[in-house]
Amino acid sequence: MTELRGFYTLWLREVKRYLRDRTRIVSSFFQPLLWLVVFGLGLGSIVRVAVPGLSYQQLIFPGIIGQTLLFTSMFMGISVIWDRDFGFLKEVLVAPVSRFTLFLGKMIGDSTDALIQGIIVFVLGIVLGIGIDPVTFLAALPVMLLITFGLVSIGLTIASFMGSLESFGAIQSFINLPLFFLSGALFPIPNLPDWLQVAAKVNPMSYGVDALKTIILGGAWQPLQLQPLFVDLAVVGVFDLIMIVIGTWAFTRMK
C-alpha cells in the first residue's frame, strides 16, 4: 500500500512538472511540424512512394510519432540529473520505498509525458490533413505507451550513470539518431540492402514504428510490414521488460 502510494505520488510529480512547463509543450510542436511539413512535402516531391494510395507525408507520419516518442522519452532521463543537481534525488532515495517503485513511478510518469507529446503530434497530423479516424487514434495510444516504457527506461538508466548534463546530452545524440534512422521511420525496411536490414532488425525501435504503421496506415502497409502486429508488440514488450529490469538495477546502485 505504501509502495502504491509512493508510486502514485512519484508519477503525479512527473506529470505535474511537465504540464507546468509551458515552453516545453509549445516547443514540442515545432520539430515534428518541420519533419512533417518541410521534410515530408520536400522529400515527397522527389520520391515515388512504393505504397499505392499513400503520400510520402502519410507514409512517414507514424514514423514521426515514433521519433517524437523516442526523442522525448530519451530526453526524460535528464530529470534524474536535474534531481541530483537540485538535491531532490536524496529526499526520494532515503524514503522508505523500494527502488523498484521509485524507478517505476518515475518511468511511468515520464512515459505519460512522452505520450502527451505523441498525442500532440497526432493532433498536428489531423490538422495537416492526414486522414485519421478516432478508432485508429485510440488503438494507437496503448501501443505508443508500450513503446515509451522501454525508451524512457534507457534514458533513465543512462542518466543514472551520468554525472553531468553535458555528458548526458553527448550520449543522447549518440544513441538517438541511429535508433531513429534505423527504425524505418522514414523508409520501409524490406527495401533496404541486406546488411542495413540486419542493423534495422536488431533495433527494437523498428518494431515499435512497424506496429504504429500497421495500425495507422492499415491495409496499405501490409505488404511492407516487418512483422505481424502481435510479433511487433511482443518484441517491444519483451524489450520493455528487459529495460525495466536494467533500469531498476541502475536505480538500486544509485546513491
Partner: protein, 386 residues
Amino acid sequence: MKFRLVFGIAFSPLLFLMRERLSLMLACSVVFRFLWQKLEISLNLPFDPIAGRESESMTHIIETNQLTRSFNGLMAVDKLDITVESGEIFGLLGPNGAGKTTTISMLCTMLKPTSGSAKVNGFDIVKEATQVRKSIGIVFQDPSIDDRLTGRENLYMHANLYGVPASEQKDRIDRILKLVELDDRANDLMRTYSGGMRRRLELGRGLIHYPKVLFLDEPTLGLDPQTRDHIWTYIRELKKTHDITIVLTTHYMDEADRLSDRIGIMDHGKIIALDTPPKLKETLEGDVIMIKANSLDALSALVAEKMGLTKTSIIDGTLEITVHQGKTVMPRIMELATQNKIFIDSILLREPNLEDVFLHYTGKMIRADSGRELHGMSAIQRRKIR
C-alpha cells in the same frame, strides 16, 4: 422409525444445546476478534506509527558500535561509539571534513559502514534499513526540495512516500505549515521562496511522518544571522511540541552551544569529547586573557616560567592565556610585563566558549583556514595523546 423418533426426542435438547453452544462460541469469537482489532488499532497509534524494537533499551534511541567508514583508505569515521538518549538534542560539532556528515549518512542508511554497526530506534542500520528509514526524518545539508512544486505539494509528496494514511495527510500538513509559518505561502511554487523559507519547509517536511529521530545536517548553513535565530527557535519548538530526539551536526559553535543538550566534538572521524555544553566549558579551567603587546613570544615564555601558565597560544598577534581566575591573574601579568620591559597595548578578559573547548581538545581552531595553533604545554600534551 421408532428408534429414530426416540433418538430424536432424547437427543434433541442436546443437539439444541450444542447448536446454542456453537453459536455462542461463534458470537464470542466474533466479539473477541472485534476487540482484538480495536486493541491493535489503539496500540498502533496514528501519532506513533513506528514503535521501537526493544522497550528496555529505548532510552538509547541511537547506539553505534565501532562504527567505521573509510573512503579509499582514508578514515572518515573511525570506530565511533556514541549513544543518543531518547528525547535529547545531540550536537555533533567539528570542522568541515571531521566526519559528521558521513556519520549521519550512515545512521540514515544512505551509506553502508565499512565495519562496525549501529542501531537507530532499535533497528539495525544495515539489516533493517527500511524500518530505520521509517523511524527518521532528515534535513540535508543541501536543499532537497522540488522547486517546481508548491510547498504544499512537496509536503504531500513526502507524506505519500512515507506512507502517512491519506485521511490524516491534510490535517498534518496544515498543522506543520502553521508551525513553520508558511501557511500563507503554501500554494506558491517553491522557486519563489527565499532560502530561509525553504529551510523552514524542509524542517517541517522532516516531521510529517512523525519520526522518532530528526537528523539536521548543518541546518543553518549559509543563512543570515536573523534567519538562523529564527530556525533555532523552530528547532527548540519542534522538540517541545513533537517529543522527538534531534541529532544535529554543525560547525558553528554558538549553534551547538545554544541548541544541544549534549555535544560530541568530532575531529578526524573520532569523538574527542562528549558532554553537556557547561561541563565541556568547565574542562577548560577558567577564563581566557587576551593580550596585545610588543613582544608576545617573550611574554609567553615569561608567564610560563614565572607563573606556571602554560596554556598559551598566539593568534593573529594576540596572546591568549587560559587561567583559573582571570581577574586576579591579570594584574600580576601586567606587573611581570612591566618588570621585563614588555609594553602591553591592551589586555582583555573573556569567559570561555565552545571555540576554546574545541581548541583545547584538537589543538586547532574549528575553521581550518585560521592559523591558530596551540603553544606551550597544552600543545605538547595534545600531541602526546595523538
